[in-house]
Symmetry: D3
Subunit: 239 residues, 6 copies
């Protein structure tokens, strides 16, 4: 039995709280159970050097975790003076996932910087980050629309993410920390609102796994992401 009586294909309790941060052009506090991530989207009038004068925009992301978001306190990356490989891997994933659903030409020559900061961690921080960041990004685009800077929100689809894994031989959706620690394999799926694949990352933690098992995980992910996308649409008032 999973914690809180969840079945194998059940998500944890999810909430998306748009507008959580007072100053940001877009923001969302996302909760996947006890994993809480504050996502903000900041509009910046300048693009990175490699995009200057090309008429296109950019979306980039940074990720961080408060030192005591976890069971035992971790080092503060700012104090240690560098970001871990894990942090860099996650923030690159968030940025790629969001760029897959935005029309950078329609965004125009400006940059939107996404910050995903984990206030509390219980597994699945990268998938919660992507799911919440989409909401923050939509709101920042909408802010640009309302200011008259662009004609319409230049997002081509929703994007959301969820983890799945094989735990004790069973395929499970949306692993929490305890499940993730004991998983034989886990995979993160980033899919669009129409079921397109944006990113897949699957890793054997112990023995290699089979193509059949991988198919089960993908089926779970498609179900879970369908529900997450519905929630995104709902909190943004789009239906």
């Amino acid at each position: 039995m999973r914690a809180h009586g969840r079945g194998p294909a059940a998500l944890r309790p999810i909430s998306l709280e748009p507008g959580f941060a007072k100053h940001a052009e877009g923001s969302c506090l996302v909760r996947f159970g006890d994993t809480h991530v504050l996502c903000t989207a900041s509009v910046d009038g300048r693009v990175p050097p490699f995009l200057r004068d090309k008429g296109r925009g950019w979306v980039t992301a940074e990720y961080g975790m408060l030192p005591r978001a976890t069971h035992t306190r971790g080092d503060r990356e700012a104090a240690r003076g560098k970001q871990s490989g894990r942090t860099q891997e996650i923030q690159r994933l968030i940025g790629r996932s969001l760029r897959a659903v935005i029309d950078l030409e329609k965004l125009g020559e400006r940059q939107i910087k996404i910050d995903c900061d984990v206030l509390q961690a219980d597994g699945g921080t990268r998938t919660a980050s992507i799911t919440g960041a989409y909401v923050a990004l939509w709101l920042a685009c909408d802010w640009l629309v309302r200011k008259g800077e662009i004609a319409a929100v230049p997002l081509t689809s929703e994007v959301a993410a969820v983890s799945c894994g094989i735990v004790g031989g069973r395929s499970l959706l949306d692993l929490d920390y305890v499940e993730d620690s004991g998983a034989e394999a886990d995979a993160n799926f980033v899919l669009t609102g129409t079921g397109g694949i944006v990113e897949i990352q699957g890793t054997a933690e112990a023995a290699p796994f089979t193509e059949g098992q991988f198919g089960e995980l993908m089926d779970l992910a498609k179900q879970g992401i369908g529900r997450l996308v519905a929630m995104q649409r709902s909190v943004l008032g789009l239906y």
Copy 2:
């Protein structure tokens, strides 16, 4: 007239929310108006090298600000690879302030690490941090008492902090960001529950100020800190 109709000697709306963070031994979300700081206290069984085998404990603090806590997005210190001078100055202040009210021998050979992370900033982040960190520290000590590791909470007094400043020639308590930006002088006071001075930092932003003005600021601080300490006692159930 100050924002929200505040008088010169009025604090902003204050809230202290103990136990905000699930994993930490002690935690408090402190709000001074729109300044919101998450303070956690983490118990660590090891002391720093200079204190090994001396039978005394230690309290240290780290401070950070989410990149979009402010009106315009700031650099992420972890990405830039170093903490700013301002960050280091603040975290040293928080640590000193807390160590002034704890009996390190009674704490025993263990360390309590305080993290103050600013989720949203509107002036006074260092004073809110100290005020909230005291609550987190008390709770972590109480956790040690309840585990039977120490006999009693080894805190000798409450400690709280507030900023004051001279704005447009008037002495004001608890400056918000707009007031702080336009202040002729500002000062941060860290006082104990019994009115003892732990730390005073006063700075002329424009022309030097007078001893009489400094006296006015200290009087405001004593009033404000009296009220903050009463709130600390109240949320901790100590009265």
Copy 3:
């Protein structure tokens, strides 16, 4: 038509040259067409701190690229003072892939450090690295066997990797740099000699792709990796 008349399911010319480096316990110069990577395996008597006195070993990997391995010279990471996110992502992937096929208990309390240094790059450096690193790792294990330190090579299977991608709507195996730059999607597969999945990473570069397309890529990968594993076995004299 692909460069050099390759069909969609053809690998580039592959070579594996074991023992390329004089000093290392195991080494292999791997060539996937014009991508050349020198892989070495160094045996270290000490394990990382988190594994001390647990009777288990560890395998870790580092990855680098000579500044002029590429079409235009890149920064030297040692001169810039930090490794890029891409570098860290790749070296974490190599380490995980190798640890998936080694019995760390049978390796005993020692560490094998893999270095993959790209002498020349033309796409697919991470997959060539994994494929060559397996050979270097096997040789280092064999060196331990010949020295009498362990009873048998503690590898549970071969592991090899290849990239696939969708280019101009067609699914192709083993992309070179030009193909990779223009791909609509690409994916890296790390599979064992018996077809088990160790790692899958698929990314949409432009529009999201479909599950059907993903299936095509996986089929190509299984064919390609089958051939790579046969070459690994051959150069190691295992058949």
Copy 4:
């Protein structure tokens, strides 16, 4: 009895040696007893980016200590690769103190960089630095006047600094290292030639102290700084 028969309100032997450094536009070797600091002022034609094209100048300061300035050798900050929090705090204080007495518009669009390097330390290095830096700054301004670049020295007042502390229950002026190490409280005062407050920093080292004690320290500081300012005027030939 204090070292060398000093009374509680006596400064250590003070000397200010203008022009100590051959190359700098302004310089002063300041000695507060055995604390020796070389202060230089370097004129730079460019201002920092945030001040470009605003017609105003800037004054900034850096602080350092030779590794063997102290009783036991400290790490060289350049070798360790970063400045300590203490160093950053002090150099920020020096910069703020000097900017409080300069008319940045009259200085014009140029920057004066102050370097305070402690050759030998015996307590009070930050207060000696401020006191000597004022002399170096004045000389650099005078150099600009003599070159015809500005009409007059744009300093609005002298500024000097001294530490005070409570040691063994007594309030003392200008603590040396031994006194500072044993102080119950210490405070640094930065005052102008006309007694205006530029900066106050008071810290309880052990138990909190009282407002009355703080008043005693401020009275001592006013006396001491009056004498330091007279010496500054004297060595600059201003009376």
Copy 5:
């Protein structure tokens, strides 16, 4: 007797393999016995800031060693986050040596960046690097000539380098690692094709050595460099 029956004035087997790297404008794999260094020359259209708009070019060099080039694995400098003093010393030497034989005005306002990466080390990596880098530099200049960007190769002479040392009281040419480790003194000579001195570095490893011994080392170096220059000319087709 020296390894492989070498006499005191014999070089190790030397090879120079021009064009080893596919992408670089000039390249050479140089082997001094078991010391193998890949040298590349990259043409960059921009000069460093201090040379802008002066009509002159620049040549600079970077040096690195693969972690397992040596008998025991060394730290990867990119992972450690900084280059060692030894690395910096060597790359400065390579740059100076090459600049001594190039007419920077005839090169025009462009920069040639030399990378010397040690694939395998057995003593004398800096002298092999200089010798191979000259070939790579010549080829990059020739590439500019063939592209019509400059009229002729702007090199004023060949430059090559060799180490000599006193081992067991005997003066030896071109030390390998074992000889170098046991040398009483060693010296690196960088000479031109016409015998001019570009750089001399001599160091006593144990007791100081005499002027007479130094003379012997210089005589050996002149002989060795004469042979190296002949090989450079030969592989470049210049005779």
Copy 6:
């Protein structure tokens, strides 16, 4: 004519001021004309890890320059976060030079750390540093003798250094900054009191130079160092 009427073989006015620093076990302020370097020697009871429990000591050196020691202000290395290649090269040279004249076994298992900090620079800072550091080292050894920790000063000879160069075709001793900037070649010589060679570094700044010219420089160096050694002996009271 050279500045101050110096002949080609004349040193600048030299002074050696032992005991300049109050806290260090040994110290010397050395002046070669307007080049002033403060050298300190600090005794440390621990040796570096590679020498633990071998019964031998170690001497190491660090070098720094105050930011405004030079004509125009340089970056502070501690602020920039790393030491330049030049700094590292010089401090390695100082350490090697001193280790060449000390019997590390007689020093016993302790380390002496030399700090050479340039207060004012006018050419020849590295040679002045070595010359002054020898005096500081001798004094620190003598301090150990006087404390009864070692039987005698374990130095086997004096060591001193001087630069020479070819300026306008003439060979000159002890170059100042202006001469050094215009030199066709320069060389630094580190010799013992008995004329043994410890280190030679010669560099062509423009065209290569000849063996005959190099011989002239060495002759000048031998004369100059003879005089420096006599001064070292004199200030140490050894004759």
